[in-house]
Structures are given as C-alpha cells and as structure tokens.
Amino acid sequence: MLMLECPYCGVTADETELSPGGEAHLTRFGPGASDDEFHDYLFMRENPKGVHFERWRHAYGCGKWFHAARATDTLEVFGTYPAQTTKPPQEILDKISAKRPGWTWRDLK
C-alpha cells in the first residue's frame, strides 16, 4: 500500500485515504479537435516501466487533487506537487534526473 504526501495538507497518507486519477498533465481536446487528437486525449496513455506522473486525490482527507512523480517499477516516489500546473516542477525533474539518468516520459527528459 503506497504512501504519498499530500502537498496541500502535508499529511503522509495511506493509499486507502487516496483515490487514483490516472495519468497527469493531459491536454484537454474539445469541440473543433480532430478525431485523432480527441481519440488520443480520451484513450491513449503512457504505460511506462519506470518514471511516471500520476494524478491522485486526497479523497478521504482534504479533498484536493495533486500530482505524484514516481517509479512504477520500484515504487520510489520522487515527489508530489499541486495539480494546478501543466508541467512538473523543475526541482522534481532534477531529482529524477539525478536518480535515473536518461529517463524519458512523453517529451520530458
């Protein structure tokens, strides 16, 4: 059972206190988008063995959505950060680079 720190209330919460929300940093496509764009937005997801960025909600706590950067293979957590952003904070990217040189995720390196 994972433990993640909620960046809003500071609680290090058990997974039972959280609800998962899939991949982070999706760009919404709406009316006017091409079929391919909308299809990709709706269905296409990363499935990495390694570094991943996910959405979580502190559902049975403060109720806030946040993002987690973690490794799917070792369950290492590189950091959590508020959901009100379109890309991960630089300090978390630096931390991942230090620990996993050469990592990639979508267009992030």
Partner: protein, 1006 residues
Amino acid sequence: MSTRLSTHGRLIDRSQTIKFTFNGKWMRGHPGDTLASALLANDQMLVGRSFKYHRPRGIVASGAEEPNALVNMGKGPTFEPNQRATTTELFDGLTATSQNHWPSLEFDVGEINASLSRFLPAGFYYKTFMYPRAFWKHVYEPFIRQSAGLGQAPKDRDADTYEHFYAFTDILVIGGGVAGLQAAKAAADSGAKVLLVEQSSAWGGRAMVDQVDSETVNDTPVDKFVEEITAELAAMPNVTMRLRMMGAGVYDHGYVLAYERLNDHQPDADGPRHRLWRIRAKQTITATGAIERPLSFAGNDVPGVMLASAVRDYVVNFGVSPGDRTVIATNNDDAYLTAIILKKAGLDVPRIIDARPEGGGALMEEAKALGIRVDLGRAIAKVKGSRRVTKVQICNQAGEGGVLDEVACDAVAMSGGWSPVVHLWSHCGGKLLWDEGHAMFRPDGDNPPRGASGEGFVRCAGIANGAMDLAAVIADAHEAGKAAAKEAGFTPKRSKAPAATSRADAALLPVWLMPQGAKTELRAKSWLDFQNDVKVTDVQLAAREGFESVEHTKRYTTLGMATDQGKLSNINGLAILSDALGQPIPATGTTTFRPPYTPISMGAIAGEARGEVFQPIRRTPMHDWHDANGADWEPVGHWRRPYAFVRPGESVEAAVMREVTNTRESIGLLDASTLGKLIVKGPDAGRFLDMLYTNMMSTLKPGRCRYGLMCTENGFLTDDGVVARIDEDTFLCHTTTGGADRIHAHMEEWLQTEWWDWKVYVANVTEQYAQVAVVGPKARKLLEKLGGMDVSADELPFMGWADGTIGGFACRVYRISFSGELSFEIAVKASDGQAFWDALMEAGSEFGIQPYGTECLHIMRAEKGFIMIGDETDGTVIPQDLGLDWAISKKKEDYLGKRAQERSHMTDPNRWKLVGLETVDGSVLPDGAYAVGPGKNANGQRNMIGRVTSTYHSPTLGRGIAMGLVQHGPDRMGEVLEFPGTDGKTYKAKIVSPIFYDPEGEKQNV
C-alpha cells in the same frame, strides 16, 4: 508404531493430561502438544486422504509447511476446515475430523482414483472434459464439484470475534528464532522501537532442537542463550514481543500484515480469536528460517515418511517418536542429527542412506560411532506399505533403481537440503539468487523490495538470508539489526556479534530424483506435491507438452497450489522441470510468492466489519417514522429508502398499486431527502455549470429551475437532476440519490485540475436538508391549509422555487414534478424533517394523504416517460439515445461530452433509441429482456435489436408498460417486437411513445 516416549518433550507439561477427539475417537495429550504431536503419540499417523487419488497420507512436517495433516476443527458456529494439525495447539475438548474421504478415513471409495492414475495425468481436466459438450453441465461439472476442494465450507455464522490493530514501529522483526532474537537485540540497542513477532508459541526456533546439545553462543548452551536474550528484550521498554503472530505479507512502502492467533489454543478465553495487525515499519527484518525439502523417491508419500527435521522435532519438543525403526535418507549432513537424536532416545535406526558417495562430516562419524550403519552413494528405490511404511528397498543413487537390499522399518526420515523462507522478502519485489553450493534460492541483498525513498526496506537475517551455521546466523542477524537501525535513522551501538560455534558439515549433493535414473514406474510414484498429488512424471509431462514457463507448469499440474502453496514442493518441482527442459535451475526461476505466507482466517480479514458495522446505513431524518409505518426497505447507495409502505395484511405489490392510485387521485408524500444537493457558488458558477451540463444553465433566472443532464468526457450520460438558481452567483444542483458523492467529486476534479482559475466553490449539502415531495391533485390544498406562503400557480409557477414558511416551518419550495402530478418538493432543515413530515401527515388526513415509496415513484415516472439513471442508462447511453435532444444546447461551444458525442459511433443512425413498449396482451414484459430481429449473428445466435430498460404494471392504465432501447425505434411506431423471456415464453410488445400518461402535461402544470 508412533508413540509417546518417557524422555524428551521440552514443550509439553507431562503433569497434566488433556483429552481430545479425532474422528470421534477420544485421545489423550499434554498441554504444549500440537494436534499433530498428540495424534502421533496416539499412533494416529494416517490423518487424511490426498486430493486427487485419495491416497492415505500421514503427517510429514512439524510446522507451517505441512501439506497433509489438514483437519476440520470444531463444530457448528466454530467449525473451520483445512486447519494444519502441526500448528494447532492442543486444548482440552478439541474436536478434529479428517478430510477428503468417504465414507471413512480408513476405507475411502475415492481410492479407486489411485488405480486410475494412468488416466488422470496432469491436465486431465482440460483433456477429458471437453466433449461431448452437453456432458459438461450434467456429468462433468457435478462430478468436479463433488470432488473438488479440500474440506467443507462452514455452514453456520462464525461465533468468534476478530479485530484489526494498527501499529507503527521503527523496526519489525519477523521470526523469533536465534536470528530474530539477535537481530531484534542489535536493533533495539540503538533505541529504535522494535516489534518482534514469532508464529509459534515459543522463542528460539530450530536451534532449540538442532543446536541445543552440541553448540554454544558466548560459551553458553543455546537454550540458555535464548532464555537470556529473551529476558533482556522483554525488559527493554522500546521492544514489543508477540508470540503466535505470523508475518503474513509485505506490501508497498513498508506496509506489513501480521496475523496474531490469540485464542486458538484457549477457545474459552475472552476477547477476539484472531487479530490482524496492520503495521507500518520503517524497516523490516525477516528472520524466517528455512524449510527442509523432501526427497523424490517412489512411495515418498506413504504415511511414516517424514521430513528428517520433523522427526527430531517430535522427539525433542514433544517426547513423541514417529516410529520404532526409522530409516534415514539424505543428501546432506543435517539428517544425521535426526539419526543421532533417535538413537540416543533409545530408538532403532537400522540404516542411513546417504546419496553422497563420499558421505558426510563429523556428524556422520558420530552416527557411526553410535553403531548406526551408513550406506553411501545409495538411494531409496521404493518405500513399501500402504497405510504405513513397512520397509524400504535400497538401490544405487547413480542407477535406475535395481534393488540391492531391503530394510524393514516403520518410518523414513528424509532430507533433501534446506530452502530459506524467502516468501516475505519476495512479496514486494525482493529478488533471489541461486546458491549453487547449498542448491537453494536465497535473497539477493542488492535487489531488495524498495520503499518510497528508493532504498530497500526489507532485509533478511540468519538462515533466511542463506547463513547456514550457528556462528554465521548470529553474526548475520547482528549486522542486519544494526543496519536496519541505521537505515531507520538511529545510531547502532558499536558492538560485535556474540561468538558462536559452527558445525563442520560436508557439502550437500543436489538430489532431485532418487535414484538419479529412476524408471517411469518409480517416477510415477515419486511425489513432488503431496497436497495436490503432483508426481515427477506430471511435471515431466507438462514440459513435454510445452508448458515450459514455471508459472504455466504450476497451473497445468497444480504443483504448489492450495493451502501450502508448495512450501515443500516448489524447489523440487522446478528442479525436475529444469532438468526436463535441459536448463539450469535459475533459468527456470520460481513462481511468484504471494501473500499471505500461510492462510489467514476470513474473520481476521473482516475484523470488526461485520453485521451492522460492515457498511453503516445512511438514514434520512424520517427514517424511524418510515420504519414504524410499514416501510419495506430498499438499499439505494448507502441509504435505505422505503420501497413501499405496506399495511397489515397487504402484499407489497398491492401497497405499491394503492400508493400510485392514491397519489394520482388525491395526495401522496415522498421522502426525497436522499437526493443529492450540491451548492455551486461563485462569479464563474454559471460558466462552470454550462460546461458540466449539456444544456445552458447560465441563462437560468434566479427563482427558476431547470432539468439538466450531465455527461462524462466520453459522452455518456452519467447523472441528471433539477438545477435551481438561487441568486446571480449561486446554484443548487440536485443529483440522483446514488450520485451525490460521485458528482461532487466530478465537479471538484474539473475545478481543481482543469479550470483552477475559475472562481467557483462546490459544497455538498445533501444531509443538511430534509426534503419532502407533496404530490397529487390536492397538494396545493394541503399547503394552503398549513399556510404561510403563497403557493398559487401565479406566484409559484411550474419550474419555479420560493423561500418561505409552511405551517410555521422555514422552507424552500420547488415546483418540480417527477410524477406528472401537481407537485411541490419542500426542503426544510434536517432537524425539522420529522416534525414537518408529521405536520403534513396530520393536516393531509382530510385529503386522504398517504406516504409512498420508491416503486410508486418509479411507476409514476415511467407512466410519464421520464428516464431513470441506471435503468435507461448503463454507462454506454448518450442523451441523444433517449430522445433528450431538447436538453442539449445547440448554442454552446463546449460542454463535457460534446466532442465525444460527435464521434462516428455516437452519431451512428443504428444506435438503439428510447421508445415505449406496450404488451399486446397487457402483461408485464420481463425486465432486461431483449428484442430479437431476423437472422443470426456470427455465433449462430439470434440477432438482437433492442432491450427493455424499465417495465412495470401501471395501475393508472391497468396494463403493463415498459421503456426500452430499440434500433431505429422512434421510426418504427406501431411495430410489434418479440421478446423471448427466460421463462421460455415469448412476449410481444408494440412500439409506442414512451409517454403513456398525460402527454400534454396538463396535470403537473396547474
């Protein structure tokens, strides 16, 4: 025979005798016995029948790895199947029965399967039961159901109680042998908080049997050392020690489940029977020891063939000898210890059969000095005997099994080497290394299970870590304790491990089959997995048939399945598989180790969550009134809602019909408090709701209501309800009863993760209000009688709302209708709910007021053609399917689901659409029935062209009415469709408009 000795028995109290029954027969034992040791003391070696061939099986082991001695314990409410006799502590009055036989353990009809074993090889289920197809339902399945499964499921409610316990510790040490004790001590000396758990009822582990007479720690005998270190740990305030508590599973980020058996050994004591510990530990040390491997020779499953370590455990711990004449078969030095202990206890050891041509070290010399004959380079060709060993035939290990000699005996003690217990290490991703020298998998310290920091959080200690002699075990455990303390943020004491002796053993010879070139007839009697009846030939067959992955072989042969999960069989099985595939053992690898380590009770998993506590019920403010007035309850989400209010002597169906008629003709009351109520507030609230609902909400005027539809981003209808605009910045959104929390979360998700710059807040106020629907042609008269506000059609028109008072209660009145009648939904403070309801009921009596339930609500809405989320929708239905295009804004550029509804599949004219259905004969269509069209599909099934989504008897119309989704439905008005029912009948129904009653809406708009 097996019997109680007059000497030995360090764990039993001979001064007391207790009685128990096995298969109805009274037997005697002593406090401290396990059920297994007590059975052996009563010469009850035969304890069960094997799963597939119903072969007689005896006790093999002395601990958690026991595959055969599974018994039913207790009776009635305390009945429990599949309990291991080897880990069941004896108590006075214990009742146990054996399993998997009929009519009796001694005479079992199923034994015929053994003679048929040629026809029941690995995978026979898959090969045999395929054809003819019709046989599956009537012949094969009943047969398999009759013969499958170990034990029986309990029939009564469990009379015991269970609990969960949350624990937080710096360091958790699992295993209370010398390694666990030393690791705990080294860790605790740093000041770290340590929890030390041991699955059995005593500290010290195997060392108390194996090293107690011969070896020392700090120049002290091992038992003295255990006594001292246990006392030291018990005196430390930062150490918690628990016996009878097993580390069951290791999970992500340092989460560990442990299973404490508090009262299994004292069933009359107060308190819970089991406790499930949910532990968060910074570091976990598994000092879980090792399990001895059996040897694969013909007849190794005959009762009386046991693990060598188990034989000496019974002698030393319980003063029980499994046999009078015990032959030892081994490939390593350890089994010599058994021979020595037996001989010194005055028992006969006619032969030690050592597969190694060079034999063993010091222990062999000691055994020889005691006068025991040792045969080197030899093997057991076959064990003779059926219900008990009678003799062994001896051959060359290097040969094919030609018999050189026979030795009469009544027990065989076998040892194929040791396998470290790596289960807990492996549960969460710890990797293993193949140790060639000891022919075993041991933990790969460089690849531990990793926690949130990326560092390992489990380390193994002692034999579990591959340290094979006492000095190495103590040193390894000491270092593990210190390292764990350091990793947990403490400073370990600078100390050296206590000095211990070590035994100079000769090297082990890997022996996976005895003899090495055993012929088919011998291999077909050489068992790998006793519990699942898997033989050497089965694994070899699986390899020949292409099941090369160890996981496939496991499932094809059932090797390593069921309650023991292959604790004895796995390594031997994968060695045989590797040999058949011509590859080294590490290339084959192991199957995945999964928690729990041994089975834990369902009660412990449930804990306190049973009965009323299992899922707390949500109650409306009027719940108790409903209960006292005949409510037939229906679960809706976590709520209970009255399905109908049943009068004495009335059927539920009759009550529903009465409620519909009464509401349509005079007046009815519905408790609508469970409907979700979400306040959406802020300068951007209108803009936000325009995105969430398919229709335009921002144009709604304060004081007005609008019915809205909500879709998910993939276009499917997810909820509906009436939205009221309270003021310029504030909306109140009603949701379905089951949808309140989900829709609240849906709103929060979009607000927080997509439109976080919009100024909107959402609050779920569902439980703050009691809401009552006053419905029927006399509804206005009732409200006017109670008085307080103007509810006339001019002042409060249809789809309007107003604040005011009614009968002295502050309230908000919505003129909305889900029934087609004149209807007021009135919200009052939750605390006023019951008093308001009482006032309505009292004042309404002159108008014939009656409460109504959810089924009446359903019928009335269906009569009006109103959809219900969950009936007309199932997660694949879009609003356009339901003819709700009028509620979809054409003006809005965007809303959630809009783009998805433009996808080709969503605009396909062949989508099934909502229609009304009227049976030709007035009967009620079966719920969920499918309409069939001409032709057949690729599978030869009739083509389906629609299905029933809601179906009721309408008392208003005096006939069955239904709604359904039908291909091209709205274009097929008047057409009669066929709906085959599961009752064999075919129902005919005509396609009609879904609005059966008052299509102009004259009744609600008055």
